[in-house]
């Protein structure tokens, strides 16, 4: 079921994701960048429906997607577009409002069309690992692998819930 490839190179603060969609690139771009479409697929289902509050698709333009959990907690995912090169490349910042906002997360999304299908590859760059570890983790055992395993379990629960 999981056709997505996720890599987290050791010692590098990046995540690489890739996936092939059975759809032409123009359509994938549209689904990715238009508010009415984004609301239909973006977000953790466990956290509730996604509301696209802002999606200003131009360099310097802001985006804001909100999810409201059943208990009323609002999570606002926010960022700015840095590069908009339709239909092949989109670069934007990514943050969760009120959490780790001092941490810079930059997403670079690439779309390639191959025989009518679209190969997506994304690279997300986080702040340096030193920065990440410095905030909360000082004095703690690292245990990154363990927390990764925990999340795998969590995700399993979320998916089967």
């Amino acid at each position: 079921m999981n056709k997505m490839l996720v890599e987290t190179p050791e010692g590098e603060p990046i995540i690489r994701m890739s996936r092939t969609f059975d759809a032409p690139r123009a359509l994938v771009w549209r689904a990715w960048t238009r508010p009415e479409h984004v609301a239909r697929w973006w977000g953790s289902r466990a956290m509730g429906a996604t509301r696209v509050v802002k999606l200003d698709l131009r360099p310097g333009g802001e985006w804001r997607f909100e999810q409201t959990t059943p208990d009323g907690t609002v999570f606002a995912f926010i960022g700015k577009y840095i590069e908009v090169d339709e239909p092949e490349r989109l670069v934007n910042t990514f943050a969760l409002e009120g959490m780790f906002e001092d941490k810079t997360v930059i997403e670079t999304h690439r779309f390639e069309e191959i025989d009518g299908r679209t190969h997506y590859s994304g690279v997300t760059r986080f702040d340096s690992i030193e920065d990440r570890d410095g905030m909360v983790a000082s004095g703690m055992e690292a245990g990154a692998q363990e927390s990764m395993n925990q999340l795998e379990e969590l995700l399993g629960e979320l998916v089967s819930a």
């Binding site: 697929w41 959490m99 997300t124 999340l151 969590l154």
Partner: protein
């Protein structure tokens, strides 16, 4: 109410006071009173924040003879790798959902055709 661990963790961390409490506990265990000291709020208010963190499994309250203290839990968010994990989980869902949605669009449910 969303009670899955990931949502609880997000909710617990979505507050600056609670993040400050975690940062303090990362330097070692301490009493509720000491945790409250840097914050301009009542002990009761700080205790509420501690309760939220405890429910999310981020900290534990323990008792050692007469001394009560809080300590960081080796739980859902040991460090900011948890943030990367949450991020990764979000995108895993997103790409699955986009895949399904693209299929819908191509079946003619696309409302955004140019």
């Amino acid at each position: 109410m969303a009670t899955d661990p990931l949502s609880l963790t997000f909710a617990a961390l979505a507050d600056p006071t609670r993040r400050a409490i975690l940062a303090r506990l990362a330097q070692g265990q301490t009493s509720v009173g000491e945790l409250a000291a840097p914050h301009q709020m009542s002990l009761a208010a700080v205790s509420k924040h501690i309760k939220v963190l405890e429910t999310a499994g981020l900290i534990a309250r323990e008792k050692d003879a007469q001394y009560r203290y809080c300590k960081l839990q080796a739980g859902p968010l040991k460090d900011l790798d948890g943030w990367m994990d949450a991020y990764r989980g979000l995108w895993r869902d997103n790409l699955d959902q986009l895949d399904a949605y693209l299929a819908d669009m191509q079946r003619g449910d696309d409302t955004g055709k140019q």
